[in-house]
């Protein structure tokens, strides 16, 4: 594997890299040189990459935010020339719709040389999460936010939330937290980002119907955002690190976009600690199994108490951690019961089926959810869902 860091300076805020194992040349960042001489090392790396592969070379431009025509022409020239002298070689340019221009512009090259094709990569950012992002889950996400907000509205000021700040809500989902935060705390600007187009469409529809302005809903991958460095006073990322397979990578990005002195606020669960009375044992068994089920799909819904370690490892100072319990006594117990019913549907339905669980296991698995619902609705019952809220300050 060889890697190349571009020269410093405004025209050189990019990185070119070749991965021989994956036969992938990637270029990321902003490439706006005055002359092609400034690109000489990267162009040489592309030529070396072409010489060292067989069959196909992937050209990854998913995180190529900017490239002026001077640079585009230079890289395109190398690829077009290679197509002509190496008819055995195919080029697959991998783009992302996040950036906006690459699919169309690189797509032009396939009209010149059929050996060049363009593939837009987006929907497969986080395939494991598709269980949680289908349309049917949206109503329950609203209910969840309503229940957690009762607690978070008093917790957030201890983690950097205050009027007038510039904030980002990363992995904003259907955008309801951003709306609540705007109404309650009046930040001067909110950027709300998510990788689910259907969730963002829902968020924009709600904002339009309710005449909500001032929230910028934007599409992107939380692990490689187009947002600039050091922009936000507060970056929130709720219930999300636990369902990414690379939580440390996401945290690194949250750190990057946070202003020095600003804070990053995260919430996560420890699902095995969901509880209820009566029928505590059945409930406990099922939620232990929930944790294992998510682990099977590379998601850690036990992450909550690990927040302190994650924040420390990411370089944050002044780390604050607290926990709260959403219960059936917060508002309408029916809301709590509806939430558990939705969990049962997804976890004991789609996810367990996908893992290949037996009918006998699924029956017992479902029973714990049913008992949790009973506990929530029982006149003397108690049902809880614990959450860890944590934040760290980016050093000045």
């Amino acid at each position: 594997m060889t890697a190349h860091l571009s020269p410093s300076g405004i025209a050189g805020r990019f990185k070119a890299h070749f991965d021989l194992n994956n036969q992938e040349f990637s270029i990321a960042g902003s490439v706006r040189p005055q002359t092609i001489d400034e690109l000489a090392p990267s162009l040489a790396l592309l030529k070396e990459s072409i010489e060292s592969v067989r069959g196909v070379l992937y050209v990854n431009v998913r995180r190529l935010a900017q490239m002026n025509n001077t640079a585009f022409h230079a890289f395109a020239r190398v690829i077009i020339d290679a197509c002509r002298v190496r008819p055995d070689l195919r080029f697959v340019v991998v783009t992302s719709s996040v950036v906006g221009w690459t699919t169309r512009k690189f797509g032009r090259l396939s009209k010149i040389e059929p050996g060049i094709t363009v593939e837009e990569y987006d929907s497969e950012f986080y395939p494991g999460q598709s269980f949680l992002e289908e349309g049917g889950f949206i109503p329950i996400l609203r209910t969840q936010t309503k229940m957690t907000w009762r607690h978070e509205r008093s917790i957030l000021p201890r983690h950097g939330m205050r009027p007038g700040i510039v904030m980002a809500d990363i992995c904003c989902g259907i955008g309801d937290f951003a709306v609540l935060a705007q109404k309650e705390f009046e930040p001067s600007r909110i950027v709300a980002l998510d990788h689910s187009k259907s969730s963002l469409a829902y968020a924009r529809k709600v904002a339009s119907e309710f005449d909500i302005t001032g929230i910028e809903y934007t599409y992107g991958d939380a692990s490689e955002m187009l947002l600039d460095d050091d922009q936000f006073d507060l970056v929130t990322c709720r219930h999300s690190l636990q369902i990414f397979n690379r939580p440390a990578q996401i945290l690194k990005e949250l750190f990057r976009i946070c202003k020095p002195g600003g804070r990053v606020y995260i919430t996560n669960e420890k699902n095995s600690h969901c509880l209820g009375e009566p029928r505590a044992e059945s409930i406990r068994w099922t939620y232990n199994e929930v944790a294992k089920l998510f682990e099977h799909f590379d998601m850690d819904v036990e992450l909550g108490p690990k927040s302190r370690r994650y924040l420390a490892d990411a370089g944050f100072d002044d780390i604050r951690v607290e926990s709260f319990m959403v219960t059936n006594l917060d508002g309408d117990p029916k809301d709590f019961a509806d939430m558990i019913a939705a969990w049962e549907e997804v976890y004991a339905g789609d996810m367990a089926a996908k893992r290949g669980d037996s009918g006998e296991f699924i029956k017992q698995f479902r029973q714990g959810f049913k008992d949790h619902i009973s506990a929530a609705l029982h006149p003397k019952g108690y049902a809880g869902w614990p959450i860890w809220a944590a934040s760290g300050q980016k050093p000045l």
């Binding site: 300076g9 405004i10 025209a11 902003s30 706006r32 005055q34 092609i36 935010a65 900017q66 002026n68 025509n69 001077t70 585009f72 022409h73 230079a74 395109a76 020239r77 077009i80 719709s97 996040v98 950036v99 906006g100 221009w101 169309r104 512009k105 032009r108 090259l109 009209k111 010149i112 600007r189 950027v191 980002l193 187009k197 963002l200 924009r204 302005t213 910028e216 809903y217 934007t218 599409y219 992107g220 187009l226 947002l227 600039d228």
Partner: protein, 171 residues
């Protein structure tokens, strides 16, 4: 009673304008990047996907500024004004240039309106020579659906007017 001219162009609302001496602008290539990034971000906030819009607008504006940078100037100031009407954002770049440059820009802008623009763009991409200013302007119409025109402000001043219909884009 005043009558409304049915052919009058709808009015674009000015959002921001940057003026600088041409000599200062030309002192550093990175000014193209700085100005395009700053202005794009500044006008992006109320677009459906602000980050996507900002990135696309910055790309287009940067190319225009690079064309301006490569134009032979005769001193004076560079004026960059951004205005908006609905989903269209207008860039107006006004600067002094020689008669020869004026003629070149006039011809280049006329060429990018041609029906064969896509074929000419592909041909320029597959050519050996580095991209010309023609090609940079052509690319704006082919890849950004921009419309371009040139206005003469006075004898030695030109104004490039580019309309970019990027406002409604969202993922």
């Amino acid at each position: 009673m005043p009558t409304k001219d049915a052919n009058a162009e709808p009015s674009f609302r000015t959002m921001i304008q940057v003026d600088m001496e041409i000599a200062s602008f030309l002192s550093n290539w990175a000014h193209c990047d700085y100005i395009s990034s700053y202005l794009a971000r500044t006008i992006s906030h109320n677009r459906p996907d602000s980050v996507l819009f900002s990135n696309l607008f910055s790309s287009a504006l940067n190319e225009l500024l690079e064309v301006t940078f490569r134009t032979r100037h005769s001193g004076g100031a560079l004026e960059c004004r951004l205005s908006r009407l609905g989903e269209t954002d207008r860039i107006e770049l006004t600067f002094a240039c020689s008669r020869e440059e004026h003629t070149f820009l006039e011809a280049a802008v006329a060429r990018v309106q041609g029906a064969d623009r896509q074929a000419r763009y592909l041909s320029s991409l597959s050519g050996d020579v580095a991209p010309s200013r023609d090609m940079m302007l052509l690319e704006l119409t082919v890849n950004y659906n921009a419309t371009l025109r040139l206005e003469e402000v006075d004898d030695d001043m030109v104004k490039i007017v580019v309309d970019l219909p990027l406002g409604g884009l969202a993922n």
